[in-house]
């Protein structure tokens, strides 16, 4: 150790130099590469699941259509739902944590990097396995993302696609659990000097709550799927009601917390974006951090609200816990709206998505309280009302947070900005498409259209609302095309060196990842650019205020 190698001294640690090229990516223990791979994989799958959604909206655009036969349609909606939940939104949420958490807490890497890499590959393997069902003779799994027995047992779903689905979902979920452990461990044990728990960025708090739910709830899915696998091997299992209803309890013990796993990281991304483009620190920080923990805790006790109509759940209790969620949710809105109200607003693309998140997610949240009421749920459960509700939560809400995050952190990750004009086009098309697609579905459900129907009759009277929804889906396709073109074009231009470098902190943001270079070096903070002093949850804002260089200096500094 007398002569320091010219570079990557810490990376190799005396061992052989890490492979480069694609093998370097595939075997990297750099949390940024693993995080980026996870996020990129889920974005590719997002486009694929969007194509499946277009097929469904094509089939449902008109009554009595024969564009897809019912068996195909059932595969398409099953893989769309399973894919979006197990393979897109959940991995993207955790992948963001893998990338951002070590940077935001001033750590040189993630805890358990090799396990994190294993988690990523389990996820990829799971996704490929699930999708490979389409290549089998009877096609992919066709029992919905929930796959209740006895419908999903061997007798009623003999296809090998179902076995592949069980295996794929188990692998991907195991991978996500591993990554969740690594992120939680990192944020609890790898914080830089001065980074106390109450100086963690809101995003890191959201990852703590998220990973606690991953660890607490996701094993229940593995248990449910194990039960399903046993029942597929031994037909007598699901002849008994106790295992049928038992499966539902196990499944929803996972199935409700996962909704918040797919929500908190995106909510927190929106919170960071709102604060930065309002020119002030996030309003009500402590309340929001606490509300995330309370939210996560209560989320473990609400699962039975998915089972109000089973006649085998204690409806009053689950209604109580579900409606109680409006308190922490209300606190989060207090923070978001309060931030904007006292701010000095700028409107770059990430801010547009973050602002749209507020009212759109609210529609999902308010209808969520309604369907947490048993008397209302008896009518609307398993109808298009629920489809509308869940898409307002996950698409009009979480996906808008996802895009806010992509536009916001893209310059940090790649060193260049995404195109502004295509970004705005993407945003407006997405707002129009989202509301045109999902708003009519509330009415459809109320009027009596059940979920998961391959077609409907002319005299049902659902035709024009379905047509509106299908037109909206077409607009969504245009929006996603604009996004894809924007990303690919920007990356191509960057590779050719024709992009202006974005700089280290193009948005005047507050958290530590913006104190290092774009993209960050292998160990996140180089000796020449050490971790700045951490004095609050917005350390870079503190720094600027001490120097008195920005308009934000007028704001009273909180600690």
């Amino acid at each position: 150790m007398t002569v320091a190698p010219p570079e990557d001294k810490e990376a190799t640690g005396g061992r052989p130099v890490a492979p480069s090229g694609w093998l370097g990516w595939a075997t990297s223990t750099d949390h940024k590469r693993i995080g980026l791979l996870t996020v990129a994989t889920s974005l590719v799958l997002l486009l694929l699941m969007g194509v499946l959604a277009l097929l469904m909206r094509g089939q449902l655009a008109q009554p009595d259509e024969h564009f897809l036969d019912p068996l195909t349609y059932n595969q398409v909606f099953t893989i769309h739902g399973s894919g979006m939940i197990y393979m897109v939104m959940t991995p993207f949420a955790i992948g963001m944590g893998v990338y951002l958490v070590p940077l935001q807490i001033g750590a040189p890497g993630i805890a358990a990097p090799r396990l994190t890499l294993l988690g990523y590959w389990l996820y990829v393997l799971g996704a490929v396995m699930m999708l490979s069902g389409f290549a089998t003779p009877n096609g992919a799994h066709a029992d919905g993302w929930f796959s209740y027995p006895p419908m999903a047992d061997k007798e009623h779903s003999p296809s090998i696609g179902s076995d592949l689905w069980i295996g794929g979902v188990m692998l991907a979920t195991t991978g996500v659990i591993i990554m969740g452990w690594a992120v939680l461990w990192t944020v609890l044990r790898r914080r830089a000097r001065g980074m106390t728990m109450l100086r963690l960025p809101v995003f890191c708090w959201s990852m703590i709550a998220t990973c606690l739910m991953v660890i607490g709830a996701f094993p229940a899915l593995l248990a449910a799927l194990t039960l399903l696998a046993v029942g597929r091997a031994d037909a007598s299992v699901f002849a008994s009601n106790v295992w049928n209803i038992g499966y539902q309890h196990l499944f929803w013990f996972y199935g409700h917390p996962v909704v918040y796993v797919m929500f908190f990281p995106f909510l927190a991304a929106v919170a960071e974006v709102l604060a930065v483009f309002s020119g002030r620190r996030f309003f009500g920080y402590k309340g929001t951090a606490l509300s995330l923990l309370v939210f996560a805790a209560i989320s473990m006790s609400v699962w039975g609200h998915h089972m109000f109509a089973t006649g085998q759940a204690t409806n009053d209790y689950y209604s109580l816990t579900s409606i109680a969620l409006l308190v922490p949710a209300g606190v989060e809105y207090f923070g978001m709206v309060g931030t904007v109200l006292g701010g000095r607003l700028r409107f770059p693309v990430p801010m547009l998505f973050a602002l749209a998140f507020i009212p759109q997610f609210l529609i999902g949240g308010l209808t969520g309280i309604m369907i947490g009421t048993p008397v209302i749920d008896y009518h609307v459960t398993d109808s298009y009302f629920i489809v509308a509700h869940l898409h307002y939560v996950l698409f009009a809400g979480s996906a808008f947070g996802l895009f806010a995050a992509v536009y916001y952190w893209f310059p940090k990750v790649t060193g260049v900005m995404l195109g502004e004009r295509l970004g705005r086009l993407h945003f407006w098309l997405l707002v129009i498409g989202t509301n045109l697609t999902f708003l009519p579905m509330f009415a459809l459900g109320y009027l009596g259209m059940p979920r998961r129907v391959a077609t409907y009759a002319t005299f049902d009277g659902f035709a024009w609302l379905n047509l509106l929804a299908s037109i909206g889906a077409g607009v969504l396709a245009l929006a996603m095309t604009a996004f894809t073109v924007n990303v690919l074009w920007t990356l191509r231009k960057a590779a050719l060196g024709r992009c202006r470098p974005a700089g280290d902190n193009p948005w005047d943001a507050y958290t530590l990842e913006w104190a290092t270079t774009s993209p960050p070096p292998r160990l996140n903070f180089a000796p020449g650019r050490p971790v700045p002093p951490v004095t609050s949850f917005a350390p870079l804002l503190d720094l600027r205020q001490r120097e008195g260089g920005t308009p934000a200096a007028k704001e009273a500094s909180g600690s």
Partner: protein, 215 residues
């Protein structure tokens, strides 16, 4: 049709509250968008936290949640109160992919089923104005009996019987559906529920065809 009435009042109140909350948030957001633009030279104002305000706010939210839980639970119990008079019983069996309605009180053990293909939908015949207890079960996989106009559904499980009581106030015919995904022809698993005068119902139980339509 107590389910429909209870649903109507709860849905109306919750929609009104939801609409109000949505408009308040929208108004606050709109205010910020108009008045807080950086382009207008607005300075950043406000404190980083308002703990006292937040505590009152949480208090209001909690009180509202308590009210909502208690009131809707009461409505739920009102909806499931036992009927005043002895109900007639119908055994409902869901199967892939249609329904069977059996009348245990019928002297001829009347039972109705169909194929749920084309116009061949089975009709669940009940007396108007009298409580009807449905005993739901399934032969193969889980189904769910949904009568949208009644604003009510309940799942039908194999190896398990679920029960609920409904009363149709007047004569008429309504559409019923399967709401739980049950495979290939889930979309087609519709039926009719028809409320007839009590004397016609008695004749129906004795095996005579219904007056009027062949439905």
């Amino acid at each position: 049709m107590v389910q429909r009435h209870v649903f109507g009042s709860v849905f109306a109140l919750e929609s009104a509250i939801a609409g109000f909350v949505f408009l308040v948030v929208l108004a606050l957001l709109g205010h910020a968008l108009l008045r807080r633009r950086a382009a207008r030279g607005t300075p950043v104002t406000g404190q980083p936290e308002r703990p006292t305000l937040e505590k009152y706010y949480v208090g209001v939210l909690t009180a509202f949640a308590v009210f909502l839980v208690a009131w809707t639970a009461w409505q739920n119990h009102r909806e499931h109160r036992p009927p005043r008079s002895t109900p007639v019983t119908v055994d409902v069996t869901g199967f892939q992919w249609c329904w069977k309605f059996s009348y245990p009180q019928s002297p001829v053990k009347r039972s109705v089923t169909g194929t749920c293909r084309g116009r061949d939908l089975p009709t669940l015949v009940v007396p108007a104005g009298r409580p009807v207890r449905l005993r739901l079960t399934a032969k193969d996989v889980i189904h769910s009996l949904w009568i949208p106009d009644l604003r009510y559904k309940m799942d039908a499980f194999p190896d398990h019987v679920n029960t609920f009581t409904l009363t149709l106030d007047h004569e008429g015919r309504w559409r019923g559906r399967c709401a739980e995904f049950c495979g290939e022809r889930h979309y087609a698993m519709d039926f009719w529920i028809k409320a007839v005068p009590p004397d016609e119902y008695d004749r129906f139980l004795h095996g005579q065809p219904l007056a009027g339509a062949a439905a």
